[in-house]
Assembly symmetry: C2
Homo-oligomer: 295 residues x 2
């Protein structure tokens, strides 16, 4: 039997997330205008890495996907999609393109984009509250997702990022921003998969650490790609981070050092999986694929 | 013993909400910049009507405030505050003043205002997930709040409102907007108080109906005040809704008819409280005070 290549495996897994998102959206009794914006935002092509991470961490422990894991993966993708919409707004990163297509506020308008983001964030918590069983698991997932996405997590990082554009950026600020705005959502995804899979404390901590490390690596790769890629390859306006003197790894520690940190993070992520043996090979491949990605 | 006047009673109750909000904010481990924006947003003077509604509906059933009700009231105020920040943005209502002080994006900037709103919304769900006990009650509150604030509720109404500015507004659209963007959050507040107070199905439905009716009345009063008040009295830019040809009751059904609908809604709200007898007098007073408010 021919082995399926890794990118195909991710794509197939992402399809399951897309179906879940479509079902959630179809179920919403709202006006046509809002549905259209939400549909556009959720159908924008994407690898669904965070959502797939939920599913694979769950599978590692349980062997197969169940409804809880599927809904948890949809919830984190809803939060991620909202964060992209708001991040692309003129008052934030001011991006016209995302994943190769025009951003939400360019296709519709800023007001619609703000509201669509708000809707997706709110919806994520409704999905977890209504679809996850038992209640104790639902509450753990909601508390965690809100914590990692809120002021002590992603939003804290976004605010620091916004402010850093106006000042000199040092390594401490850089680490704070990348950890909070990006890595914590990866940690959250891995931890959500662990919670759905009934992880022991030790398993939970290992998977969380793995998530955090690949999340940091992911953001450094983003920084590097943004400099070295053309807009067409990247699917968004390339070189923007340098123009805006953003707080990035290549800008602060230099390209060579940034690549070294990337590799170390990937190795640390792999090391965190030790207790799972060969069963965690998919997660190992994921770590390598994020290191080597070209867009 | 001299009876305390009703406005003083609301103000005292609102103080309890303010303390809860301050505790929640103090507890957040985030950067100073974000804390400052959140602090400004949460300290903007306000009557905290929705939060007080949670507390009074709970008290009606339980006799006194407990931690669950306090946290539920804080959560709805967090959501309400976020909705005001985003609603005031240039891409939405474009308001410079709110509750007599400059709006969040005027004091800071648009990016900070967007992020602060996102943070408060996320925080509301974290508070409910972490602070409410038992878990089944927490999940009911989260599911309800997300439903009423999300695409099938407040955001649905906001989007319809945004779109209505560009087209002719009929009575059906007007009712959809007011029900969704305003009344459902009042219904939600009353229902959250009912859930915290362990309401029976009948009690829950009556309080929800009461909340919906006073919420609709509240929005019509807003529409009327916006036309008849000066900016100074109202604390925000008056007359804006008429300038922008917004979908309001006075604009669509005329001032006289709008006032008639207001009174009917208040009577229906009072009627919904029948089963509670004299114990519901505070809620009756609240309904009248919202009808008669001048700002």
């Amino acid at each position: 039997m021919q082995e399926i290549d890794f990118n195909t495996r991710i794509r197939r897994k992402a399809q399951a997330v897309n179906f879940a998102l479509k079902r959630i959206l179809d179920f919403q009794e709202t006006n046509q205008e809002l549905k259209e914006v939400l549909g556009y935002a959720l159908n924008t092509p994407g690898k669904r890495v965070r959502a797939v991470l939920v599913l694979w961490c769950h599978e590692l422990l349980k062997g197969q996907v169940d409804h809880n894991a599927e809904m948890a993966s949809a919830a984190i993708e809803l939060v991620h999609t909202y964060s992209l919409i708001h991040d692309d707004l003129p008052a934030m990163d001011d991006d016209d393109m995302r994943r190769g297509v025009p951003t939400c506020h360019r296709v519709f308008d800023e007001g619609a984009a703000i509201l669509a983001g708000d809707a997706l964030l709110t919806l994520a918590f409704e999905v977890l509250a209504r679809e996850i069983d038992p209640p104790a698991m639902a509450l753990k997932l909601i508390g965690l997702l809100a914590h990692e996405a809120g002021p002590t997590g992603m939003i804290g990082g976004q605010m620091a990022d916004l402010r850093a554009e106006k000042t000199e950026c040092d390594k401490k600020t850089l680490e704070y921003i990348h950890t909070n705005k990006t890595a914590k959502m990866f940690r959250c995804a891995a931890a959500m998969g662990a919670i759905c899979g009934g992880a022991s404390k030790k398993q939970y901590e290992s998977l969380s650490e793995y998530g955090m490390k690949i999340g940091l690596c992911f953001q450094i790769t983003d920084d590097i790609l943004d400099i070295s890629s053309s807009s067409e390859e990247l699917g968004k306006t390339a070189g923007k981070d340098v123009v805006a003197v953003k707080c990035t790894y290549p800008a602060v520690v230099g390209m060579k050092k940034a690549q070294e940190i990337q590799k170390n993070l990937t190795e640390e992520a792999i090391a965190a999986l030790k207790q799972f043996g060969k069963k965690a090979d998919t997660l190992r491949q994921l770590a390598y694929s994020l290191l080597e990605r070209t867009k």
